[in-house]
């Protein structure tokens, strides 16, 4: 091998410069065989992904995990505070199994609830309760946990109709989280189509598409969101409302992904590796499949992580303002709307919890978006 000296002297070099510039260069400079096995940097499954997976599963299984149905009303328990869970009974005796006492409104003040020490009810797992269905085909009456009537278990209290807030929060997550997800998918697909067309065809088409996108990006987006909603019917069924809200959010948000996709395609078309592949006789289909699509896909994945929390918030706000999903079906937005009444806000702090529910979800999505952004950046 006459050529080895060239290879060795070059390859054994530890390129400190490229490291200073933040590019990962010779990762295992001293053990090439290890690098040969490991290869591509594996995607780190962060806490954010675990958390999001868990919360989405929990929300799909809302019927099972929630002790009550979202519509179940216990009128005598309006605005009940979170139920106290006991291990030690009124007589001071310790029980291994957690239990609650039956509560009743105090006779002189309907806002005060009194525990009835004579009626303990143990917290049961796989307890019988309201009938529910998961994804429409699995029906059951067994809940993950619950207590038997007349006792009741309100983890984070009830609303004005005596509906269990915890259960409604889980069901409401179905609306809010999935509205965000579907709307983001909707606008990303729209963005992919329009941005892709603009990037591929260029010229007039590109001009028009990007001008329109700019209009959608420029207008302060709550205003645009509400305005677009304004031109659509107000009194509608929950299912229509869900679809409507999703399409409104998606329609308002397509501008940014479209711009991104166009940018990626324009820059990729000029990349030398695309030229080189054409030099090997690659067809357009091949270029799209092997080079352009994976590039766009990665950008769009990042964009999804950015858009989903934004769109969850959009749903929350529309429903909060009474322009989204309406009663009796819960969403985090319309649940929070009750807290706008001054007496509710002042007296029943748990009514603010629906506003806190998106916070961990947003944190997780933001962290995920950041990870993905770093990754995309380091790849260019």
């Amino acid at each position: 091998m006459t050529l080895t000296w060239v290879g060795v002297s070059d390859s054994e070099r530890r390129d400190a410069r490229s490291i200073r510039e933040g590019r990962s260069s010779s990762k295992d400079a001293r053990s090439p065989e290890k690098a040969g096995v490991g290869g591509a940097v594996p995607f780190k499954i962060t806490w954010a992904i675990w958390f999001l997976l868990t919360i989405h599963v929990a929300i799909v299984l809302a019927g099972f995990i929630a002790p009550y149905n979202y519509e179940t009303q216990e009128r005598e328990h309006a605005y009940a505070p979170p139920t106290k869970i006991h291990f030690i009974d009124c007589a001071g005796k310790f029980h291994l199994r957690a239990f609650v006492y039956v509560t009743k409104p105090a006779e002189n003040d309907l806002n005060q609830y009194q525990q009835d020490c004579s009626q303990p009810a143990p917290i049961e797992f796989f307890a019988r309760g309201d009938e529910y269905s998961i994804l429409g085909f699995f029906h059951s009456t067994r809940h993950f946990f619950g207590v038997q009537s007349p006792a009741s278990l309100f983890m984070i209290g009830t609303d004005g109709f005596g509906r269990d807030l915890f259960s409604r929060l889980l069901y409401g997550g179905q609306v809010s989280l999935f509205a965000g997800f579907v709307a983001a998918a909707f606008s990303v697909v729209t963005g992919l189509l329009l941005g892709g067309i603009a990037g591929m065809y260029g010229g007039r088409v590109d001009d028009v598409a990007m001008r329109v996108a700019e209009v959608f990006i420029t207008v302060p987006w709550f205003y645009l969101l509400i305005a677009v909603r304004a031109f659509l019917p107000l009194q509608i069924s929950p299912v229509t409302a869900f679809l409507l809200v999703v399409s409104v959010i998606g329609l308002v948000g397509w501008g940014r992904p479209a711009r991104l996709v166009r940018g990626v395609i324009l820059s990729a078309r000029e990349r030398n590796f695309v030229l080189a592949a054409r030099g090997f006789g690659a067809s357009n289909a091949y270029l799209l499949r092997r080079h352009l699509m994976p590039l766009t896909f990665r950008v769009l994945l990042t964009q999804m992580a950015v858009l989903i929390p934004q769109f969850i918030l959009a749903e929350v706000i529309l429903s909060f303002l009474g322009l989204g999903i309406g009663e009796p079906f819960p969403s985090w937005g319309n649940m929070l709307a009750n807290a706008q009444q001054y007496h509710v806000l002042v007296s029943y702090w748990w009514m603010l919890l629906p506003g806190l529910a998106p916070v961990p979800v947003f944190l997780a999505y933001h962290s995920l978006a950041e990870t993905l952004q770093e990754r995309t950046k380091s790849n260019f």
């Binding site: 050529l3 400079a29 006789g281």
Partner: protein, 550 residues
């Protein structure tokens, strides 16, 4: 033999570096050694030249001396003492007093060394004000004096200007003025010439030599180009992989038999082991006849169109196993020529024949198993010519995959073979493109081109992104491959380096036409103004090295 000869007579040398090691934490978590056990001593008024290829740690040395290393780097061992005081132990405030006032730095890339949004008056005066307690008039007159000293005849205009209003050479002069305005004892110049054009390089070099003499500066001059050192210092330190590989005076090192030392001092010389063979093949691979190409430009919101004549009546013939170099300024049409021959652009007139067949057939999607694509192109910027999400194996096997050549396993095997052929360890096949260094990426691009079994390789400034020693290695590899596969090369460059060493014919382009055809050895006698301009640019810089080699 070390630079400390004179320093031994004094108690403390100006700067003493002993057993100095620096490590980086790479993004992947690995620890990378940038400097290892470096010793260096400089007395007042002495100079040392630090030579080495990129990645040899010479720039890390410059930064580490002033504690300017980025956050992910740390000093692993050793000390840097300035006048007997360890720089690692001084407080940030004391360090600030040393920086700029005692030890000054001229960084790489003058274009980027000045703040783009501040007027130069402020950038110059601030350095002075930070270290000297002077009133306004004194500051102004010192700035004026300093700017005159670095060769400006109209300091007032310069002080009012912003960096973007100056040329690269002027900016580097201002950066030098900034460094010297507090009359430091030691100047660290980190590749101060690398981003300048050739004529300016010579000017700046003269200036530095004069200032050193006049001000009695001690200087550490870091470069990869040994040619520039002759006028500054005889005292040389050669670095390799973060270690001091050799030291001594220039003349002695030039006579050293060590291969690495030779390749650093005379990058061109190492090529002569395999000299180009002249080919007497009468069956031309490529015939270009009367090629013409126009571009029509239209400004935004304007109906006026501009026609740019990019190529006009270009004729060219290239035989198997031979090399033709096309040189010219940027914008002379040479890249358009390359892209037309490669089939990325369609010429407006003229014909391109590959083995007597019209080239237009070439870019059709390939049929099963047939991977012959007779023309391949190697691009200047290896970073964008490889898809960053592909592994080395995928990159090299891509032409095979596109052509549906044999089975997956055979394709992989072939890819590994090719990697070895271009001098890359096949064990790295699963690494991503981004994990390779610039020179290695250019090798990957070469391996990929070879996979298509080309007859003609077009190299569009393919060596320009690399530093001299790496360029020399690439040229050697190319000559080797040419001999083995009978490849024809079309070498396109604005730079005359290496051209004389492996091309049989040189075509000079200017404004879309071929203005001169000659052979490399007669290039020097050319009278054509376009050729002369290119020659002048090359000679002023590489003079010592090239002369020694030729």
């Amino acid at each position: 033999m070390t630079s400390g000869n004179l320093g031994l007579l004094k108690l403390d040398p100006l700067l003493r570096v002993s057993g100095f090691s620096v490590e980086y934490d790479a993004a992947s978590g690995a620890v990378v050694r940038a400097l290892h056990n470096v010793d260096l001593e400089i007395g007042e008024g002495e100079s040392v030249g630090v030579l080495g290829e990129s990645g040899s740690g010479k720039s890390s040395l410059a930064l580490a001396l002033l504690r300017l290393l980025p956050g992910n780097a740390r000093v692993a061992s050793g000390t840097v003492e300035y006048r007997g005081r360890s720089l690692a132990d001084v407080s940030p405030a004391q360090l600030r007093e040393i920086r700029g006032a005692e030890v000054a730095l001229i960084s790489q890339e003058p274009a980027l060394a000045l703040n783009p949004v501040l007027p130069l008056r402020r950038q110059l005066a601030d350095v002075l004000v930070a270290h000297r307690d002077l009133n306004r008039e004194a500051v102004a007159s010192r700035c004026d004096e300093m700017l005159r000293q670095v060769g400006f005849s109209d300091p007032e205009r310069i002080m009012r200007a912003y960096p973007h209003e100056l040329s690269g050479g002027q900016r580097q002069r201002v950066a030098i003025a900034q460094a010297l305005i507090c009359q430091p004892k030691l100047l660290i110049a980190d590749e101060p010439l690398s981003a300048l054009d050739v004529a300016t390089q010579a000017d700046i070099l003269e200036l530095l030599a004069r200032l050193k003499r006049d001000l009695g500066l001690a200087m550490i001059f870091i470069t990869h180009n040994s040619g520039v050192l002759a006028s500054l210092t005889e005292n040389i330190l050669i670095m390799r992989e973060g270690e001091v590989y050799a030291r001594g005076d220039l003349a002695k090192l030039q006579n050293s038999s060590d291969e690495y030392v030779q390749s650093i001092l005379f990058p061109e010389k190492s090529l002569f082991a395999s000299s180009p063979q002249s080919s007497t093949n009468d069956n031309p691979v490529l015939v270009v006849h009367g090629l013409g190409k126009k571009f029509i430009q239209q400004r935004m919101l304007s109906r006026r169109k501009f026609v740019v004549q990019s190529l006009e009546g270009v004729d060219l013939e290239l035989n198997a196993g031979s090399t033709v170099a096309v040189i010219g300024r940027s914008g002379s049409g040479k890249s358009t020529l390359a892209r037309c021959i490669a089939g990325f652009e369609t010429p407006d007139s003229g014909e391109i024949l590959l083995h007597g067949q019209a080239q237009t057939e070439k870019l059709r999607p390939s049929k099963n198993g047939d991977l012959r694509h007779p023309v391949q192109m190697i691009f200047q910027d290896a970073a964008t010519s490889l898809n960053p999400s592909f592994t080395a194996r995928q990159i090299v096997a891509e032409p095979l995959e596109i052509a549906h050549w044999k089975s997956e396993a055979e394709r992989t095997e072939r890819a590994l073979e090719l990697m070895e052929e271009v001098g890359l360890d096949p064990g790295w096949a699963s690494r991503l493109a981004g994990e390779f260094s610039g020179g290695q990426r250019q090798r990957l691009a070469l391996a990929r081109a070879l996979a298509a079994e080309p007859k003609l390789l077009i190299m569009d400034e393919a060596l320009s992104g690399l530093d001299m020693p790496l360029q020399a290695q690439m040229v050697r590899l190319l000559i080797d491959l040419q001999a083995r596969h009978g490849l024809a090369y079309l070498y396109i460059s604005h730079d005359l380096n290496f051209v004389s060493l492996f091309a049989q014919e040189v075509l000079v382009m200017d404004a879309g036409r071929i203005v001169e055809r000659t052979i490399p050895t007669k290039l020097g006698q050319s009278a054509h103004p376009a050729t002369r301009a290119l020659l002048d640019a090359s000679e002023r810089l590489h003079a010592p090295g090239v002369e020694a080699a030729v």
